[in-house]
């Protein structure tokens, strides 16, 4: 009994590992694509990071990033890749809710939902 449940845990773990890796590879590909475009579009400029200005509003929120990325804005495309990167561990937590529910482990369903709520609060809040 304990043996078989530990084997299932292991399978689920490996599945999560693959999910994280896929999310990472996808996001790295989008960032790389945006990066190449960025280097072409901004080649001649000098980056100024010595003074903090804060990023313009149109690359701070998911909706604007999505719109501009599909219009071919390189900086928005990189930002889209970074959003995919942030979404990857959140997806992992969401999958864990399902897995704990399948095991009828309600204590950990609740625990995982708290973590998910904190993550969504951070991404949605301003």
């Amino acid at each position: 009994m304990a043996e078989s449940s530990s084997k299932r845990d292991r399978r689920f773990e490996l599945l999560l590992g693959r999910l994280l890796r896929t999310g990472f590879l996808l996001s790295a590909a989008v960032v790389l694509l945006g990066g190449v475009l960025y280097l072409i579009q901004y080649r001649q400029r000098s980056p100024q990071y010595q003074i903090f200005r804060g990023e313009p509003a149109d690359i701070r929120y998911a909706r604007d990033v999505l719109r501009d990325a599909f219009r071919g804005h390189s900086r928005a495309l990189i930002q889209l890749g970074l959003l995919l990167l942030i979404a990857t561990p959140i997806a992992r937590v969401a999958f864990s809710v399902v897995e704990f529910a399948r095991e009828r482990d309600w204590l950990y369903v609740a625990t995982t939902l708290i973590v998910l709520a904190v993550l969504i609060f951070s991404l949605a809040g301003r």
Binding site: R18, L20, A28, G35, P89, V115, V118
Partner: protein, 291 residues
């Protein structure tokens, strides 16, 4: 002394292409060293960007946090092949780290950058110290934590001699330490992997292979919790985050591949000394208001 001024001079007038390539190369090295020494790329990349390139520390921690997430997700599959994570321990402690991360990220937006630099320097000093100090033996035979049993945290992991059972101890102390690790991650844009492993390994007495794998899982979630706040506050610049993320991830993933056969003890000691020097520089410049 001789490295600083020329690099700075070329940086001020550097084009986007030159700057991106320099940062990507430095990030690759940071990721590689971070993986080989077990410290992670984040503690190296922030001083690299602020001290060498004079990047504002808020942009630096934003870019670093992104690279931390990339490393955690990218390495997850490899970690899981080597070790076993404890999903219950991980999820329970993620409550503490993610709330800590949000508090840390909010704190980062309201304290002066000099103070962030000083705290960063202190954390770096601590990391340097733990990387040199040998790992003490875990003492056995302590009383069991009834809380760990109530929460069903105990687990097993496979060894050549078969499945070994382990018991989790000191859950409340581990939880509090994890909150601190999360807050440090949110404030400084680092993974806090050293604190996480310390809490699980030495305080909660979880076997090393289980604690490192579980910690890698947790680092991504912790970083995601503060990344949203960084993003909304405009700390994450795509032009800077792009070479840092790709560089650190590439370095860390190849470092993890070399690791099993590498002799890291000498590297750790040399690296610990270098980190201590960098830490002093961060504290000094932070106090002088130069960061």
């Amino acid at each position: 002394m001789t490295l600083g001024p020329p690099l700075l001079a070329c940086n001020v007038h550097a084009t986007t292409l030159e700057f991106t390539l320099l940062v990507a190369f430095g990030s690759l090295l940071a990721g590689l060293l971070g993986a080989l020494t077990g410290l992670g790329g984040g503690v190296i990349i922030v001083p690299f960007l602020t001290l060498l390139f004079h990047v504002d520390i808020r942009y630096a921690i934003g870019a670093s946090l992104v690279s931390v997430m990339a490393t955690s997700s990218g390495a997850a599959a490899a970690y899981l092949r080597e070790g076993y994570s404890n999903m219950r321990v991980g999820m329970l402690l993620e409550v503490a780290t993610s709330i800590g991360a949000i508090c840390g990220a909010y704190l980062a937006t309201c304290i002066p950058t000099g103070a962030i630099a000083v705290v960063f320097g202190l954390v770096l000093l601590y990391s340097a110290w733990t990387s040199v100090k040998p790992i003490p033996d875990v003492s056995a035979g302590e009383s069991l934590d009834p809380l760990a049993q109530g929460l069903r945290l105990d687990g097993t992991y496979p060894t050549p001699e078969g499945l070994i059972e382990y018991h989790v101890r000191h859950v409340p102390a581990g939880f509090v330490l994890m909150y601190v690790a999360g807050a440090a991650s949110g404030l400084l844009g680092i993974g806090s992997g050293a604190v996480k492993v310390l809490a699980m390994d030495r305080v909660m007495r979880i076997p090393f292979k289980v604690s490192t794998t579980t910690s890698n899982f947790m680092i991504g979630v912790t970083a995601a919790a503060s990344a949203g706040i960084y993003l909304h506050r405009g700390y994450i610049d795509p032009g800077l985050a792009m070479p840092v993320m790709l560089g650190v991830a590439a370095g860390a993933l190849s470092g993890a591949r070399i690791l099993p056969g590498a002799k890291v003890r000498t590297l750790r000691v040399a690296f610990g000394a270098a980190l201590a020097a960098i830490a002093m520089q961060m504290i000094y410049q932070g106090m002088g208001g130069k960061i």
